[in-house]
């Protein structure tokens, strides 16, 4: 449907459930990839299953200096950077009243600050090329809130505001900045939920089923494509209708 042939992309958190689906989606549409992740072994294992041209770049996103070096490493490996997908994210769930300082700051550092550092670095090659696609994976809870996730929801809502500001700054250079907000996506995490909780979860989703990584990947492929060039500063919600925003 969309042709990403000749385009280059950096995907963070590429070995995770949603990240690997995004990587497969971009590669399947012809993009050359730099796959990033914190777990080198897991990353190599996933990369071995991926068809198409790609490199792996291990990076600890809680290390600011390492994050700042990631985009230059990707540019060097790929010869440019057209698409940045900020997908990596962590959770440290706790009720706000019990939340430790580092549970708050760890989540903000990885989910929001690292994404900002990567966007800041990616703006340079994208401005020069007069083309770019920055896509951040947020979450329905960034828009709706969720008990136990004050840190996570703040980081995801933060990505939305950041993306809008960047979209306004960079639109004149043909760089779009958007978010994709998944709802509940089937993963190793949702598989182990007790049956009662699963039923309760599904009752909140009009589509009556969990989403798949590929549903998120399709949205990313669209926002990465040349065809989406007039769409910027937006959040595309992929949630089976559980929140209509």
């Amino acid at each position: 449907m969309f042709d990403l042939t000749g385009m280059t992309a950096l995907v963070t958190g590429a070995s995770g459930g949603i990240g690997s689906a995004i990587a497969r989606g971009l590669a399947g549409h012809g993009a050359r990839l730099a796959l990033s992740g914190s777990n080198e072994a897991k990353l190599a294992e996933f990369a071995a299953t991926l068809e198409g041209d790609h490199v792996t770049l291990a990076c600890n996103l809680s290390d600011g200096a390492a994050v700042d070096a990631l985009v230059p490493r990707a540019v060097e490996a790929l010869g440019g950077l057209d698409i940045l997908v900020n997908n990596a994210g962590i959770t440290r769930d706790n009720l706000a009243m019990r939340m430790k300082d580092d549970e708050w700051s760890d989540v903000l550092r990885v989910n929001l600050e690292a994404a900002f550092r990567l966007c800041r670095a990616a703006a340079k090659p994208m401005m020069k090329a007069r083309f770019g696609r920055m896509i951040s994976i947020t979450s329905v809870v960034g828009a709706t809130g969720n008990p136990g996730q004050a840190n996570y929801a703040a980081s995801k809502a933060g990505l939305v505001g950041m993306s809008k500001a960047l979209a306004a700054e960079l639109a004149s250079r043909n760089i779009t900045v958007n978010c994709v907000a998944p709802g509940f996506i089937a993963s190793a995490m949702t598989e182990v939920l007790p049956e009662g909780q699963k039923t309760a979860l599904l009752s909140r989703i009009p589509a009556g089923k969990l989403g798949e990584g590929d549903d998120v990947a399709a949205a990313v492929v669209y926002l990465a494509s040349r065809e989406s060039g007039y769409v910027t500063g937006q959040t595309l919600h992929v949630n089976g209708g559980m929140a209509m925003l």
Partner: protein, 78 residues
């Protein structure tokens, strides 16, 4: 203009799409040449690349005219 001046002028003309005669040494990027703040960031990036100098943010902020750029580059290039 000096050799640096000619190269700076060429970059400015290319990036801002302005007429050559408007790019005088005392022309202000923003007031006379219609640049916005993002254009300045791009110009600084282009100068860095062309001359192999690093222009830190606090120095970049002080570059507002063509001559400011030429002077900075002449005093910092290797």
């Amino acid at each position: 203009m000096s050799e640096t001046g000619d190269r700076v002028k060429k970059i400015v003309i290319e990036h801002l799409g302005v007429e050559a005669e408007k790019v005088t040494e005392d022309a202000s990027f923003i007031d006379d040449l219609g640049a916005d703040s993002l254009d300045i960031v791009e110009l600084v990036m282009a100068f860095e690349e062309e001359f192999g100098v690093e222009i830190p943010d606090d120095a970049a902020e002080k570059i507002s005219t063509v001559n400011d750029a030429i002077e900075y580059i002449d005093s910092h290039k290797g």
